[in-house]
Amino acid sequence: MVRNRSMGVVAVLAASALGLAACGQSSGDGGEGGAIELTIAQNAIAGGKNAAAADHIASWVIPKFEEAQKAKGKDVTVKFVPSGVDDEQYKTKLSLDLKSGKGADVIDIDGIWAGEFAEAGYIKPLAEVAGPEAESWEGWQQIPEAVQGLATYNGKKYALPVGTDGRVLYFNKTLFQKAGLPADWQPVSWQEVLDAGEKLKSSGVPVPIQINAGTAMGEATTMQGVLPLLAGAGGEVQVDGKWTGAAQPLKDVLGLYQKVYGGSGLGDPKLQQEAKGRDKSFQQFAEGKVGILLEGDYFWRGVVNPKTGVAPMADREEVVGYAKIPAIEPGKGIRGQDFVSMSGGALRTLNPNSKHPKEAFELLAFTLSADALKEETKDGNVRITPRTDVNKEILAGEPLLTYISDEVLPLTAYRPPVAVYPQVSVALQEATPAVAGGTAADQAPADYQKKLEGIVGGAANVAS
């Protein structure tokens, strides 16, 4: 009796705690009786990360799409599932959701994840999920071959590309003028970049050159450092399924890092080690302390943007110059190019577990229609869309984005979209501070090759 009573009290206490907890719960999906409910997920959230994209979905895509479906006699409601976290965390969450047969119907992923998601069975070729409409989508004709490649894995299209970007050398024209360098600077070799750095240094610029290095910057070191330089030295991280080991191009890249960070005073090695080093490099550029900086177009749109940037520069248009990234010497870049760049881009795809794949694809295609992209990119949110028809129109007033779209994208290269890439990327990042920290420039490539062999499953998969 006593025992029962005590159990009862515990149960009541526990239940009241749970009841309190349950207050925050709402009921699940109420879509019944012909109504179709779709969800769309992005790593974007109102009031936070990528807020403009989230607002566009909520205020334009959803009402317009529901309206269009209603006109066709379908009752479709769309719900946006926002997120606003680190890419790795977003990726983890998506993977766990997709593995368990959950997740939104339409999801955004980074282009670089396509291979590993496909291999895991988390995403499937669009035609398999949505039917032949996916192949005959009108937008494909507007998307350049290279950008389509972002969404392609093993010859099949797994997603629609959401956009792309490109990397250039930014420079501070005011500092250049003081150092006696031209405002229309365009180096044609690495040596010319180093020479400019020397001149900036002697004119008193605290950080003449900023090329991301080290593991603290994460993927920014790989994408805005090692890989564009590697392309400039004529190398690629993976060629025909074989990973590049301690070959000459990598040695050249690490040699350049050593010239910048190994005591020459051309770069600030401490900045590369700080957890918030990249933020700081942006801040310092905005304050006129950095001469040359290798970054993507995000830097122009989101960092030094006078209105919405995190390190705004009121005189961005006058002060910030940009130039293509040169090959080590003219004609020595990949494919024999004089100039190089690297690009990435997001993808938008379907959840293979979607209950309404046809409608989900319609929603997916709708978000990348010319109208939707024009709407999304107005009011200062211009970015390079995947569609040439849209780009022609929206990039007109944006000199840098036009420059990247016209001059840089034809030269650019992409990362290999395979599952082990993130680990290879970390190994590349680790090689860079080793050089700056004094490890002989030929030891670091050998160390990298050893690590690489461990990552990609043995020496057989590595070419040196």
Binding site: V2, R5, S6, V9, V10, L13, A14, S16, A17, L18, L20, A21, A22, C23, G24, Q25, S26, I45, A46, G47, G48, K49, N50, V81, P82, S83, G84, V85, D86, Q89, T92, K93, L96, D97, S100, K102, K276, R278, D279, F282, Q283, Y298, G302, V303, V310, A311
Partner: protein, 272 residues
């Protein structure tokens, strides 16, 4: 006399140093939210309310604080009630293998609060239908915190004298009545400590709430805090510092409340 004075000086110097050590890091939180363009530098603020206006207009900021409250209080209630009962029983009756069990659970709890447990916990939540629900999250967080809570409270109960319980028993009180009316009042400061410890733990937890709650309307402040970065991962200090302050206030208020009401501190029972 001089020795006394020297002792006083030494005492106050030491206290001043310790106070400085614990206070100086807090200064940024007192200045940045009220500064127009905050950086990492602690400056005298220009007392702007603009940053707070941004947070007030934020679609999820205030709601996320409510969610944090639900999660923190729900977990704290469960942890305190369950650990008090369990610790009392374990303290007064020697169940076989009691201490070994307690140590084993304590060690296992360290695994479960780490990153590696995210997949099992996620799939467990899916199987039990607890995904996207505050209840599920509360149960999971309670499970992780219970062993340490039991361990701490048992330590308390072990040092409280048993004579009151014996007298209560002589007067015919049931074990549960004894716990409520005799034991709980004695160890109440300890329970308060556990409650605040639990609240602080839940309040700062980011990864599990993010993974288990898809609906942004249900996500706690810890998750929303992480969304206040730009697409390139740069910290927006204007909103981060301000939201950081607002995010800290409830947990401080809860501490003050518990501290005032229950004499929040380890008390160690009645002096003998």
């Amino acid at each position: 006399m001089t020795r006394f004075v020297a002792g006083r000086i030494g005492f106050y110097t030491l206290v001043a140093l310790l106070l400085a050590f614990f206070t100086i890091p807090l200064l940024w939180l007192a200045s940045a939210p009220f500064t127009s363009n905050p950086t990492y530098e602690v400056r005298v603020p220009d007392f702007t309310w603009e940053n707070f206006q941004i947070i007030l207009d934020h679609p999820y900021a205030l709601g996320s604080l409510v969610n944090s409250l639900i999660l923190a209080i729900g977990t704290a209630v469960l942890v305190v009630v369950m650990s008090a009962l369990a610790a009392y029983a374990l303290s007064r009756v020697r169940l076989p293998g009691r201490d070994a069990l307690l140590y084993a659970l304590l060690l296992l709890s360290s695994i479960i609060t780490g990153t590696a447990a995210m997949v099992p916990l996620f799939q467990l939540a899916i199987e039990l239908g607890l995904i996207d629900s505050h209840t599920g999250l509360i149960l999971i967080m309670t499970g992780g915190l219970l062993p340490a809570a039991i361990f701490m409270i048992k330590d308390f109960m072990d040092t409280t004298p048993k004579s009151y319980e014996e007298s209560a028993r002589v007067f015919g009180a049931s074990p549960l009545q004894i716990v409520r009316h005799v034991v709980v009042p004695v160890v109440r400061p300890g329970l308060a400590t556990i409650a605040v410890w639990t609240i602080a733990n839940v309040w700062g937890n980011f990864l599990m709430p993010y993974l288990l709650l898809s609906d942004v309307e249900k996500q706690p402040a810890a998750v929303i805090m992480y969304t206040l970065y730009t697409e390139g991962g740069q910290a927006n200090l204007k909103v981060l510092s301000t939201f950081g302050l607002l995010y800290s206030v409830p947990v401080v208020l809860m501490y003050l409340f518990v501290s005032k009401k229950y004499g929040f501190r380890f008390h160690g029972g009645i002096k003998r």
